[in-house]
Amino acid sequence: MTPLAGCLLVSALLFSVGLAGALTRRNAILVLAGIELMLNAANLNFIAFWRFGPHPEYLTGLMFVIFSIAVAAAEAAVGLALILAIYRHARTSDVSEMTEMKG
């Protein structure tokens, strides 16, 4: 197995773990954590393709990861603020109890 395939497999595994968490956990914060894990798995793919690709000197994968980290940080901040707002309203962070869009 080449190093690239190893990286891609680790990334696929991490993505599946994140997906499983996002789909199975009740707590909204952990659903967000699962989504973060999936984003990180995608970042690992970018780094792996940059490292083992034919033209690493163009820095494309590296730049994509840097921008992706910034976008993911913004997403985490807004997502957690949304969870806090919903918690203040409904007194729960259980996604299976969040059944109303209008309080």
Binding site: L32, E36, L62, E75, A77
Partner: protein, 182 residues
């Protein structure tokens, strides 16, 4: 050239952290395991020769996102009655099966791909901070500005969303402090 031992150790650490973060019962333990997974990923980036991305990952994820998640967990305590034994949602088994199916498809695609089999993986690319800076300021300057604008908007949006509403509508409990309502 196979995978190095350090890569395997870091990959196992990252995956163990991820699995623990998604399966542990106590939420604070989950957040700590998530920090371990993020740190393992940062070490993987460093191992692959992407120093800047690795350190950015360490700063942003371990330093900020993990702490933010801990704060969110501490700010949303469960009600005394329903803490126990309801960790997974009723649709949990279906979600796990779906995630397994996704992994099977991805792993099959990776194992049969010719690109992954014949990737050379030569010497570690030598990128200096100077080159990254030039790339950010020249070729990627527009995305950089857009990201700056987006971060500002996200910060303001997060503050507005999480801000306590000051004036409560008469007759409604929205916006009152929890002590008043309870």
């Amino acid at each position: 050239m196979g995978m190095t031992v350090s890569f395997l150790i870091l990959a196992i650490m990252t995956l163990a952290g991820g699995v623990a973060a998604m399966t542990l019962r106590r939420l604070v333990h989950c957040a700590l395991a998530l920090a371990v997974a993020f740190a393992g990923l940062a070490a993987l980036y460093l191992n692959l020769g992407a120093e800047f991305a690795g350190l950015a990952q360490l700063l942003v994820y371990v330093g900020a996102v993990a702490i933010l998640i801990v704060f969110a967990i501490l700010l949303t305590p469960a009600r005394p009655g329903d803490e126990a034994e309801k960790v997974f949602s009723p649709a949990g088994p279906a979600g796990a099966v779906l995630a397994l199916a996704v992994f099977a498809v991805l792993a099959g695609a990776v194992m049969t791909s010719s690109a992954a089999r014949q990737a050379a993986g030569g010497a570690v690319p030598q990128t200096t901070m100077r080159e990254i800076g030039f790339a950010l300021m020249q070729r990627y300057v527009l995305p950089l500005e857009v990201v700056a604008l987006m971060l500002t908007a996200a910060m303001i949006g997060a503050v507005i969303l999480a801000m306590r509403e000051r004036r409560a509508v008469p007759g409604s409990t929205v916006g009152q402090s929890p002590e008043l309502r309870a």
